[in-house]
């Protein structure tokens, strides 16, 4: 297996303007020094709470928002250096599925026009057959091609969004919270669809979600972000069975499980998620961390390998957590 996508030291800062002369007063450090890679055919899960920078990271990779600094290599080529037709060619290979199926489809276009537009932009032949084929692929009927988005339910709209992304035969997909707006019974349909399509086309995927159970279900490896920084990366099995970072542990213990027999020892975090405009010094989790010590404020803890393939950005030893 080779890395299809490699991200090195990626930063994205948003300037905050204000005051009399509309000067830049502060920077929101949405993504801070993020490095990771995704192998060909892999689904990498990206979990985090609101404001963790997970969507910004996904968009930065596709250059839907320009990163401030860093490198994104797609099949060895530097995405951030690309211009014009080269960039357009690349975008054919990388697609995105958005969270809100109500906001991401133009209400005045028919399904056929929505999918046809994706094909036209990339100078691909748009035919009625191709649109019908794509609709069938995502579990809709080709007869529905002349309908408008409002004539579909939320789950069906998300299927249209997926068909649009797949229209140009991409090899890499960023799925940004694709099931968060859906009811559970429909969510399961869409998760199954994504899984089937991933297998069928050997897609590589960055799956962004705040729902740990969904990520566990779907992904091969999982990356946990908070306030723009990666806290932990590990294989799915390792992350859920033996989480190394205190933040991952807190997240896992906070997620309610639909099993009334299971009573768990919950790690209740104190306090609020700090503002991304003014993150704590050192480790961004230290203000809420039950295991924080004085040294945590001193420097940003680097990701270190705590077990083969498992990286955690915490200076403390996992063994210490049990005794605290």
């Amino acid at each position: 297996m080779s890395a299809m996508l490699e991200v090195r030291g990626l930063h994205k800062w948003f300037p905050v303007r204000g005051g009399l002369l509309n000067r830049v007063r502060a920077q929101v450090q949405a993504v801070q020094d993020v490095s990771f890679s995704i192998q060909q055919g892999e689904i990498l899960g990206l979990v985090g709470e609101s404001g963790s920078g997970k969507s910004t990271l996904g968009r930065s990779i596709l250059r839907l928002t320009e990163p401030t600094r860093g490198e994104v290599l797609f099949e060895g080529r530097n995405v951030l250096a690309m211009r014009g037709s080269e960039l357009r060619g690349l975008r054919r290979r990388m697609q995105i599925v958005f969270q809100d199926p109500f906001a991401s489809l133009d209400p005045r276009m028919t399904v056929e026009a929505i999918i046809g537009e994706a094909l036209a932009i990339h100078h691909l032949k748009s035919s009625s057959d191709r649109v019908g084929e794509l609709l069938e692929l995502v579990g809709l009927s080709p007869d529905q091609r002349r309908r408008y988005p409002h004539q579909f339910s939320g789950g069906q709209r998300q299927r249209i969004g997926i068909a649009r992304a797949l229209a140009v035969n991409p090899s890499f997909i960023v799925a940004d919270e694709p099931v968060s707006a859906l009811d559970v019974s429909v969510q399961a349909q869409i998760l199954n669809l994504l899984q089937d399509l991933q297998k069928k086309f050997g897609l590589t995927m960055l799956f962004i979600s705040h729902d740990l159970l969904v990520v566990e279900h779907l992904c091969d490896r999982v990356m946990v972000m908070q306030l723009g920084r990666i806290m932990e990366i590990a294989s799915n099995k390792r992350l859920y069975e033996a989480p190394a970072h205190p933040y991952t542990r807190a997240l896992l213990s906070a997620a309610p499980v639909a099993d009334p027999g299971q009573k768990r020892d919950r790690i209740l975090l104190k306090g609020e998620i700090p503002s991304p405009m003014n993150p704590p010094s050192g480790c961004v989790f230290r203000t809420r961390c039950p295991y924080a010590i004085a040294e945590c404020a001193e420097g940003v803890p680097p990701l270190r390998e705590v077990s083969p393939g498992q990286f955690s950005a915490c200076i403390r030893d996992v063994k210490d957590f049990a005794t605290c």
């Binding site: 939320g154 998760l191 906070a254 309610p256 609020e272 809420r288």
Partner: protein
């Protein structure tokens, strides 16, 4: 006062919306009971009628909606028994906030952006308890401390936009609890919050419930939240209750195909097996299927299911199912 008598008893409630496109039977024959100190969860997907049920209890249904049938009997703090559906608007103003309080999903839209947190809590106290401003302000600060907000004297002067989502939800809960209501209706209280903050708010609600011995009617779509918070659960589908019982019974041995489908469509820890999604979509309110509303999506449906509507039958004590074939499931 008999302590076993239910705090809230809803009988055959029907709330319909008379729209130009036709009558939407959002709530179509719901019966529920909430006792003091217990949490009853009403769970369902969007459009199932769970929120309309809670708004009916508060009598907050606006035209073109109307409660067309049923009774909502409430036991007030003073021991009176009244039917909310028959109350005058003046009586309702006393009931809301005093006997029943409500926490909504979106704390940003339910708080007034133009007033400080302190003002909004104190207003509720002045309104419902007839306190003077100074006294109300002091009580408001105490309530803020009760919901776990540090430095309440300082936070009292903050506006909603200066607060985080979790903090705003605490302020909402503070307003709701300021008059120590007997019944709290929590409509998706943690849906807009992150999981770590959700855990804090649920923990807070549990604590306050045992301190105040409140009954809680918890409206949610999240089965995980139901499992953690409630002792009993009513599962709603297309305006009706399809199953009801103790959470432990319903989750471990569901007696309705919809409940089975919901539980199976959830991703489970330690399992990567393909999910068993419920096929199809929730029926349109204008094109309800005849007979059992769930039959078109049901794996267990037989022709009889579409012929007549299955009644809600008692499977065993306190356990209800609206399925002809419950004994075969």
């Amino acid at each position: 006062m008999n302590d076993d008598a239910p705090l809230l008893k809803i009988s055959d409630l029907r709330t319909h919306f008379f729209t130009r496109a036709g009558v939407v039977k959002s709530v179509n024959g719901i019966s529920l009971e909430v006792r003091r100190g217990e949490t009853l969860a009403v769970v369902g997907e969007s459009g199932s009628g769970k929120s309309v049920t809670s708004l009916s209890v508060m009598r907050l249904i606006d035209a073109p909606g109307r409660i067309v049938n049923g009774s909502i009997v409430l036991r007030t703090k003073l021991g009176a028994v009244l039917d909310v559906t028959q109350c005058s608007e003046k009586e309702m103003r006393r009931v809301r906030g005093n006997d029943i309080a409500m926490v909504f999903q979106e704390p940003m839209t339910s708080l007034n952006p133009a007033y400080t947190a302190g003002n909004q809590i104190a207003e509720a106290i002045m309104l419902h308890q007839g306190k003077r401003k100074k006294e109300a302000w002091e009580m408001a600060a105490e309530t803020l401390a009760l919901v776990g907000i540090s430095a309440p004297e300082k936070r009292m002067f903050e506006f909603p936009h200066q607060m985080s989502g979790g903090m705003r939800q605490r302020v909402m809960i503070a307003i709701a609890l300021s008059s120590k209501p007997g019944l709290l209706i929590a409509d998706e209280p943690t849906t807009a919050l992150d999981v770590t903050i959700q855990a804090q708010i649920l923990d807070l609600m549990r604590k306050l419930q045992s301190d105040l011995n409140m009954g809680i009617l918890l409206i949610t779509h999240n089965l995980g939240v139901v499992a953690e918070m409630a002792s009993r659960v009513a599962v709603m589908y297309a305006g009706q209750i399809v199953e009801q019982g103790l959470v432990s019974d319903v989750f471990l041995a569901p007696k309705h195909p919809y409940t089975i489908g919901l539980l199976k469509s959830l991703p489970r820890p330690d399992s990567h097996a393909r999910l068993e999604a419920i096929p199809g979509n929730v029926p349109s309110p204008f094109a309800m299927p005849p007979g059992c509303k769930f039959a078109p999506r049901c794996r267990h449906a037989v022709p009889d299911c579409s012929a007549g509507e299955p009644p809600l039958v008692e499977v065993n004590e306190g356990r209800l199912s609206r399925c002809f074939r419950w004994s075969e499931l």
